[in-house]
Each structure stands twice: as C-alpha cells, then as structure tokens.
C-alpha cells in the first residue's frame, strides 16, 4: 500500500515535470523522432536529385517570421511534392507577435526549427550561432547555385565571410514578365477612377481631391456601407504605410530607411524634408476634414484587412503584398471585383512634373533576410536537397500553377491557362489550405519558365493575367492606354548599385550608436506621426515632433548609413 503511494507520488512528480517542461521539450522530442527517419534516408537524399518515394518521407519543420496561412496536414500538393522529393515541411507562421519578438524567443529557447526565415531578425539568429553556413553546400546543388550569380551570393556574406541564408524572392528567371506592381503605391479603387472618367492623377493633392469628391458624390456603397475615403495602417512595423511615403513623393525609389541622392552619392533623411512636412500637413488637413479614417492609428492589421475587404475603402498607401492577395481574393469571392473595388496604383509625387520611382524593375535583392537552415536540423544535406528540388521546374509548376488538368490546363501550343472555375478555386481560402501548396517562403522564381513559353507564376502569364483581370480594372487600363500594373504606375529602371539601402538598416542592432538611434527614431515616429496628423495645430505639433525626433540623434544613424553607402559604391 505504502509502496503504491510512493510510486504514485513519483508518477505525479514526473507528470508535473513533463507537463511543465513540455514547452521546451516538445521540440526536442520531435527532433529525435525525425532524426531517426532522416538517418535512414541520408544516402538517397544526398545523392539523387529526386529520390522518388521509397516510403520514407522526411518531415522538416519551418518557421517564417511573417503572418501566413497554415496548410492542412493532408494538403494534396504537399503530398505530391513529398512523393517526388522525399520530403515535406510543416510550416508555421508568425501569430500576434513581431518578427523580432518571435525570433528572440526562439533564440532564448535555443531550439530551432529546421528552416527559418527570421525577417528583420535574421541577424539575431546569426549572432546566436543558430545558422548553418552554406558555403560548402551551394556548389553541390545546381538549382540553388543557379539562383544567384557569384557576386550576388557574395553579397550575402556576413562579417565572418560565410553565407548563412538566401533571399527567396524577386528573382527573375529568363525574361522579366512582371505584370503586377508588387511594391508600395498610393492605391485607388477602379470604380473611383471610372466615376471621375479616368483623370490624370499625378500629385498628392489631386489624389485626395479625387477621393473626397467621390465620397461626397457617393457617401455609401450599394449595400449601404459607408465609403471611407482614406485609411492608414500603422500597426507595429507595418507603419511604413504612413511613414515612408515622403521618399517616393520626392521621386526616389524604395531605399526604405533613407533617400540616396545620386549626387555624391549622399544619404538624405526623408523624415525632415519639406516634402515630408507637406505630406503630413496634407494628412492633417484631410484628417480634420474627416476624410482620413479616424481609426487609422488604432486599428490592427487584421482589422485593416477586414476593413479593406468590405470594399468600402477608396484609397490607401501600402505595399501590394501587404494587402492585395487577401483582399482581392475576398473581392473575387464576394463579387466586389465586378463593381470596381480592386485597387490600381498611382505614381504620385509631391509636385507635378516630377519623375516617380515607385516601381523598380529587374528584381530587388534584399540580402538582409532570407531562408536559413539551423543547427538544429538533423540532416542538412537533405534540407539543401529539398530546397534544390523545390526550384526544379516540375515542382515549381506544382507550387505555383498546381496540378495539370485540375488547377490549370495546357493548350495545343503548350501554353498554360486557367478556366474561371480554376481561378475561383485559387482564390478560395479553404481550397488553398487543402489543395494548393506553394511553399511560399522557400526560394521561388519569377519571370519565364524553363520551357521558354510559360511564366513561372500564373499572375505573370500575359494571357492568363489579362483574362483574370477584373473587368473594371481592364477597362481602367484600357482608358489609360496601359496593359499592366507597372505601366500604370510608370516604371523606372535606373536605380543605383547601392539599392536598396534598407538591406543594411534592417540588420542594424543596438550594439552601435547608429542602431540605437535607429531604434529610438522608430519609437519616436510610431508615437509622433499619428499625433502630428491628429494635431489641432499642425505647425505646433510638427515642431514638437522635430524636437523629440532630434533628441533621438538621427545623425548617428545617418552617418552609419553614409559609411555603408560609400562602401557599396566602392568609395
């Protein structure tokens, strides 16, 4: 009897300890389980390009420090890819935290997923020694090697001389087929342009005139929802929607954290320019006239997306990737695309007659972040093999086009196309979770397919793009005499070799005075930009803001940026 009591006691203690340790222990358990499977298949995984199903599928884990939609465990295309490559990945995404918080937590715990993209916090992972160096592997995997030129690979080298990650996006294979403007712009709904009979909108003032006169003439949508002329997303890092427009309005490209004046070249702070002041003054005026959504500065990202999805927001400044995939899919499902709710970009500048650089061509290489493989990964070779396989044309088609005959069809010339039903499926959240598997944060190609005819992405297939355009958008393009989004905004191909500078500022840490200044500047702007826009007396608000801003020592930051710029242009 007594013995049983003691046993029970130990059981309870053990249970308690295992429950409490569960958070940390969970990872290692699954790692151990995976390790044994991984060992079995090392030979097959390491040698052949695609070791076709010998039953053992390696299951990797991945964490991406951006919000994303989870795939179902039995996702159909994931299974097909697993059959072809012998591996699959359980992807997890950011929920409710910022990227650096999530990565910081992972680093503090010391247990990593196999693959990781830490976003802005990539440097943190490197500093923590969490990443595997790629140098010995790149040459072994042709598809990976092919992804970047040697010079481009060199740009990824960290201060210890090794490569730890590769950026997965914006790389163009063969001919550039860009049809979307995957960047920032002042967006406006097609119905607004149609109502105003397609005027030329070149400046911020004209833009707001357009939005407000439309809202006056049409206070509500057909279903009675009140039209919101302009809203601003300011949550956490996404406050770029409010913050960085002055660089574009001044006619410069998206260096992200600074303007680079090609004369010199020198770094210019876009927070303090006259253009910045005029931009915020304009927002202030419109805010007090009631044209800027009063919830702008308090809404969360989810609330913002929900608001856009109603179709009631006439315009905003944002990056295409930050809203379009979610919102336009909802429009399609709800039929809002047919009444012209879809957004088209406008290449605004502060004054008329300036050239704009909202759109830059030729792909943008952001070396600050990317996909890394961690030291917790049990079978690094298999991991590289999997990335390599994902870049193969067959798997790439599966990722972005889907299954032939189900998600797309092929015509007699070998051109891929989709029917309206297939397009509708591709915009359906449930279908995306259960059937489509694009492994979106693994490296992928833009541009043209290796078959020389098709595009890597359906969106970039000219015929498919034109067929899938919502009718009001197509009409709008026709009215302006353009055929794609980049043409709509006016694209420029002349950015300097330093571009983009944000790939440096994103890696700054509080180790250096510049990094501390950069953090503090961000904190000040987060608090003061909304205040300035809401201020009853703009001039007063602006001068208070400037005072606090200067107290954050922006000069420390700017001089470190200048040093990096000089390094990049080889001065």
């Amino acid at each position: 009897m007594k013995r049983r009591k003691i046993t029970a006691l130990f059981m309870t203690t053990a249970l308690a300890v295992s429950v409490l340790g569960g958070c940390g222990g969970g990872g290692s358990d699954s790692d151990a389980g995976k390790g044994s499977v991984a060992n079995d298949s090392t030979e097959t995984g390491g040698s052949a390009a695609s070791s076709k199903g010998d039953g053992d599928v390696i299951e990797f884990t991945a964490f991406f420090a951006v919000p994303g939609a989870e795939k179902n465990d039995d996702n159909e295309i994931k299974e097909i890819i697993a059959e072809k490559t012998g591996a699959k990945v359980k992807e997890t995404w950011l929920t409710g935290q910022t990227a650096s918080e999530a990565v910081g937590t992972i680093v503090a715990g010391g247990e990593y997923p196999d693959f990781i993209d830490g976003g802005d916090a990539m440097k943190t992972l490197y500093d923590a020694g969490a990443l595997v160096a790629w140098d010995d592997y790149i040459d072994k995997y042709p598809n990976i090697k092919e992804y970047y030129s040697d010079e481009e690979w060199d740009k990824f080298r960290q201060d210890d001389g090794h490569i730890y990650w590769m950026n997965q996006f914006n790389n163009i294979y063969g001919e550039d087929k860009t049809t979307t403007h995957n960047d920032e712009a002042f967006w406006v709904q097609a119905r607004v342009l149609e109502w105003a009979d397609y005027p030329q909108i070149k400046t911020l003032d004209q833009y707001f005139d357009l939005l407000t006169s439309y809202a006056e003439a049409n206070p509500t949508m057909e279903d009675g929802t009140k039209n919101i002329p302009y809203t601003i997303l300011c949550e956490d890092w996404r406050y770029f929607c409010l913050e960085n427009a002055p660089q574009f309005l001044d006619g410069y490209p998206n260096d992200g954290s600074v303007i680079v004046d090609p004369e010199g070249p020198t770094i210019v702070d876009y927070n303090t320019t006259d253009t910045a002041k005029r931009y915020f003054q304009k927002l202030n005026e419109e805010y007090h006239k009631g044209n800027v959504d009063p919830e702008s500065f308090t809404q969360t990202y989810d609330e913002y997306i929900a608001k856009l999805s109603t179709g009631a927001v006439l315009g905003m400044c944002d990056q295409w990737w930050d809203f379009a995939f979610d919102v336009h899919d909802v429009f399609k499902q709800q039929g809002l695309d047919t009444i012209g709710c879809n957004y088209v970009p406008l290449g605004l500048t502060i004054d008329e007659g300036m050239e704009n650089q909202w759109h830059t061509t030729g792909g943008t290489l952001n070396v600050a972040s990317g996909l890394g493989i961690t030291t917790s990964c049990q079978d690094v070779d298999a991991a590289f093999q999997f990335v390599n396989d994902l870049l193969g044309q067959e798997v790439h088609d599966l990722r972005y086009w889907g299954v032939q005959g189900v998600d797309y069809d092929v015509d007699e010339n070998g051109m891929y196309f989709r029917t309206e039903d297939q397009r509708m499926n591709a915009a359906d959240t449930a279908y995306k979770a259960s059937h489509l598997c694009d492994y979106s944060y693994f490296p992928n190609w833009k541009g043209s397919s290796r078959d020389g005819k098709n595009a890597m992405w359906p969106e970039e297939q000219t015929s498919e793009f034109l067929d899938s355009l919502a009718e009001p958008v197509a009409k709008c393009f026709e009215a302006y005499g353009v055929s794609t989004y980049p043409e709509m905004i006016g694209s420029v191909d002349k950015v300097g070799e330093w571009f983009p500078m944000y790939s440096f500022s994103n890696t700054m840490t509080t180790e250096t005075p510049g990094g501390v200044a950069w953090t503090k500047m961000g904190e000040v702007k987060h608090e003061w930009l909304p205040k300035v826009v809401m201020a009853d007396d703009f001039e007063d608000g602006w001068s208070q803001y400037m005072e606090v801003y200067n107290a954050a020592n922006p000069q420390d930051f700017l001089s470190e940026m200048q040093a990096e710029l000089d390094r990049r242009v080889g001065k």
């Binding site: 007594k2 203690t13 409490l20 409710g96 650096s100 500093d127 308090t298 509080t510």
Partner: protein, 324 residues
C-alpha cells in the same frame, strides 16, 4: 460590539498558543510522517528547480550576454546595464506606467470584489445568487486576447458604446477611445474589474460563510439593520482575509499586466501603455539585449520584495494579520 472584537483577538491567541505546543523531532516522529516528508521534499525540489535555479540567470544582467557565448563566456560589464536602464527616459516612464496601473488595478479590483461579495451575500434568493455568481466569474476564464478583442469591438468608432453615446446625443462624433492617452488607464482598470471581480469575490464569499450565524442573530436581537450588520459583523469577519489578500496583492503591484497593455496599446498611447514587462520584451527579446531585459526584471523583483516587506511590517505594527 466590544465582545466581537474580543472574539477575534481570542482566535489569534489560540493560534500563537499552538506554536508553544510544537513536538520535538524524533526518529519515531519522522517515520510516522514519512509520506508527508516525501511530499514536502518533492515540493522543495520542485521549488529549487523552478524558482531558485533560474535565478542563476540573473548573472546575465551584469554581463554583455550573447547567446553564442553563453552564460560562461559572455563578458562581464558590471553595472553598465543598470546605468543604461536608469538613464533611459523610456524606462522611467515605463516604471511610472506600471506603478500607476498596478495601484489603480489593485484598488479598484480589490474594492469591487469586496463590495460585490457583500452585495451578493445579501441576496436571499439562492437561485438568483448562484446564477449571478456563476455568470460573474465566467469572464475570468477568458484569455486576454479575447477580452481585448471584445474591448476593441465595443469601443470602436462603430461599437456599441459610441452608438449609445451618439443616440443619447452625449457626443456628436464617435470617440476614438484608443487614440487618447487619458482613456487608457481607465480602460485597463475597467477590463480588470470586468474580468476578475466575480472570481475574486469567491474567496470573500467563502470567508463570509464561515462567520458564525449566531452573531447575526445576536445583532438582530440588538436591533441592528442590514447596514449595521455589514459594518459590524461581515466586514470585521472577513478582515483577516482582506488583509492577507491585500498583502499578497501589494507584492503584485508591479505585475500590472502585460497582455492587456500589449494587445490594446498602439503608437499613440505608447507613452502611457507600456509596462516593465513590455519593456523587457522589447529590449530583451526583440532587440536581443538579454542583459538589459534581465536587469529590468531584477529591478522589478527587488521592488516587489521591498513593497511586500514594507506592507507586512505595516500590518504587523497595526496588529493585523500578516504573511510572515
């Protein structure tokens, strides 16, 4: 009512009397209490592993800790991190916010719970009483993410509060509650009251049940009304409970919260919404300065210990119940 006071004193005396009666520790006694000893050993071990060993991590506050170098190879920097901390305006502001919200929450939730318990106790209809009690403590089981979601909806420009205010013509424009620093602390206090009052009242309700009914009967005989009974019997009856809970909560003042401020805050109200915990998260985790985060954590723990000791001493002086 003098008799009553005596009664409470008497109880206290009986308790101190028990101390003098302590048995000597003999092997026989140890054997007899074997099971109990094993149990307590397990708990002590648990305490050491989960409460004391992690304190070793405090060393990082005096280092420039890098995850790569670990605890043993990071460079010691003395009190540098603390110096940075106290010269940082943000930190001072954050401490102010934490203390302010902590005190407001403590006072409001504390008072509300006692008032609510007493009111509930006065309800004679058992069914009504039980129903209200159940409904009122349910919010305790909601996580903050849900509560903040509800708050966001309710207080939004088109939310019910603004609708009502507009309908009653109290305001002509919806109030944007989350855009003004003045509203933030009251919103947090309200949320805490809404969520925890019912739950906190349970302990007082049970304390009230323990009061000898004959006291009430006696009071009625003396002609005491409801109000007098509350004042002279119920409140003194639960005073020891109130004191102990107050003491424990004083130590918690700096735990003014993390989730609610984190989830409800935004750039505009940052200057009043950020608490020490958020600061630790921001610098310790996001900026990867674990040492600074630890230093802020140590500061918080020290202040909490000091607060609880002071409160305990004061309770001792006043001759009230105390923790130690």
């Amino acid at each position: 009512m003098g008799i009553l006071k005596e009664r409470w004193r008497g109880e206290g005396m009986a308790r101190t009397g028990a101390k003098a009666n302590e048995k000597k520790i003999t092997w026989k006694e140890v054997k007899r209490q074997k099971v109990l000893l094993i149990w307590s050993a397990a708990i002590v071990i648990y305490g050491i592993i989960f409460y004391y060993l992690p304190l070793g991590g405090w060393i990082t506050a005096f280092q420039n800790y890098k995850p790569k170098d670990g605890l043993f190879h990071s460079k010691f920097v003395g009190l540098d991190k603390f110096k940075f901390l106290f010269s940082d305006d943000t930190f001072i502001k954050v401490v102010r916010n934490t203390v302010a919200m902590g005190v407001i929450n403590l006072v409001v939730t504390f008072v509300m719970a006692i008032v609510f318990a007493i009111l509930l106790n006065e309800v004679k209809n058992t069914f009504g009483k039980k129903t209200v009690q159940t409904i009122s403590y349910l919010p305790h089981f909601l996580s903050w993410i849900i509560v903040t979601g509800i708050l966001h909806d309710v207080l939004s420009g088109t939310g019910i509060i603004n609708e009502v205010l507009m309908k009653l013509s109290i305001v002509d424009q919806p109030i944007n509650f989350f855009a003004h620093t003045t509203y933030f602390w009251p919103i947090v206090a309200f949320a805490n009251v809404w969520k925890e009052t019912g739950w906190n009242a349970i302990i007082y309700l049970s304390a009230i049940t323990a009061i000898d009914p004959s006291l009430y009967e006696a009071a009625s005989m003396d002609g005491a009304g409801r109000w007098a009974k509350i004042k002279h019997i119920t409140l003194p009856g639960i005073r020891p409970t109130i004191m102990i809970l107050l003491l424990m909560n004083v130590g918690n003042v700096l735990n003014a919260g993390f989730e609610i401020q984190y989830l409800l805050g935004n750039g505009l109200v940052k200057s009043v919404s950020e608490t020490i915990d958020i600061y630790v998260l921001k610098w310790g985790i996001s900026q990867n300065d674990f040492s600074l985060g630890t230093a802020a954590g140590i500061f918080k723990s020290l202040v909490s210990i000091i607060l609880i000791v002071i409160a305990n001493q004061m309770a001792k002086r006043a001759g009230e119940e105390r923790l130690f």
